[in-house]
Symmetry: C2
Subunit: 228 residues, 2 copies
């Protein structure tokens, strides 16, 4: 099985929050895989997939794109160790996915924006700055948050997860599963692309959860190359 992930100029440094969902999902299921590092400008390398984004999972003859589709593919094809225990929880997690992307994603990217630029390969820098300037409609220097502003924005955005995690070790219950990986993606993005500490010192609930996630599945995430 091959997982195509976004890398920095250091090809061991993976930072796509979407690819991290799948990295963790594969670890959850105990499926071994090979990582294929992809730069932003490596569009030819992934042209076979018929689209331009990672993650891409190649499983024998199957090529599956889009993190949500891959999570569903994995549960369909390898039903042991399900990411979602019932159809209803899969549906609820789908809403949680959109919540993560609408609130946490922007808070993280605005905080680590300049650190990402610094870590990218030369060709990728130009691509990243141009594409993000277009997406935000402003120059990056007008978007980037001071670290303390970023930590505050992310801390506020995490409110609902923090309250749920006051009652249990993982969003999913006693053990991590699908929705935990959805939420974990943006934090791994920050960890692997920036030395900025994204969680406030007093945010003991989210910090403890992050430690548990880093330890999960034999330390799959902690073992990865980080920017720290």
């Amino acid at each position: 099985m091959k997982l195509y992930e976004l890398c920095c100029s250091d090809e061991r440094l993976f930072f796509s929050p979407f690819a991290w969902r799948i990295h963790m999902a594969l670890a959850h299921k105990g499926l071994s895989f090979e990582t294929v590092p992809v730069k932003f400008t490596d569009k030819e390398k992934i042209a076979f997939s018929g689209q331009k984004l990672v993650p891409i999972l190649v499983d024998g003859d199957e090529t599956v794109c889009d993190s949500w589709a891959i999570m569903n593919y994995l549960d369909g094809t390898y039903p042991d160790q399900p990411l979602f225990d019932c159809e209803q929880s899969r549906n609820y997690a789908h809403m949680i996915k959109f919540w993560v992307e609408a609130t946490l994603g922007p808070a993280v990217v605005k905080t680590v924006l300049m650190d990402i630029v610094g870590k990218l390969h030369g060709d990728d820098r130009k691509y990243f700055v141009e594409s993000r300037t277009q997406r935000f409609g402003k120059p990056l220097e007008d978007i980037v948050l001071q670290p303390e502003e970023g930590v505050a924005a992310l801390g506020a955005a995490l409110g609902p997860a923090r309250k749920a995690l006051e009652d249990r070790n993982f969003l999913s219950g006693d053990a991590p599963a699908g929705a935990d990986y959805l939420l974990f993606g943006p934090l791994m993005w920050g960890r692997n692309s920036s030395s900025i500490e994204l969680l406030a010192e007093g945010d003991t609930v989210m910090r403890a959860w992050r430690e548990r996630m880093l330890d999960a599945h034999d330390g799959a995430a902690r073992k990865s190359q980080s920017a720290h």
Copy 2:
């Protein structure tokens, strides 16, 4: 079974978003119940419960307070027609509950604030204005949103739910269940306390879902007295 709900000066007009969760949960399970209208200042009427908030469910000798605790009590005691199909979906819904309360609740209350005041019983008006002024730390007139601002704020807050509902009829799947009732509460609050239309005309996805929710369980919500 008795459900203590918050009422306006018109005792048939119920507007607690938390009580509406239970109203719908009871309809979901096909359990018949009697509603006991409670005004904000009727604290003596609910003193037996040992706390000061609705909803309160009295089921024979059992008294259960707090909407989330009541939903769990109902699934534990009446497991047919579960509100949550598995423990994981219950856990995910718990996070969705906190999301609803942190984002949708404030958007609705800031929009319908003055309409609520107008609909309350005389004693309750004073209580409501004083308690909310204290909660917000400002006079209500500095909090209230213009209807179009409120619709925009709620529309933005609903983003993750709208995206999930593009793929299915209810957050829970083909039929409504627990998380749908959590999200529906604030909309019933608006409907039953204000004539302001909370969903933008172009928000066809959320409007269609609201219609389906109003129709659910033999029109349990639509049949209730509304401010429209």
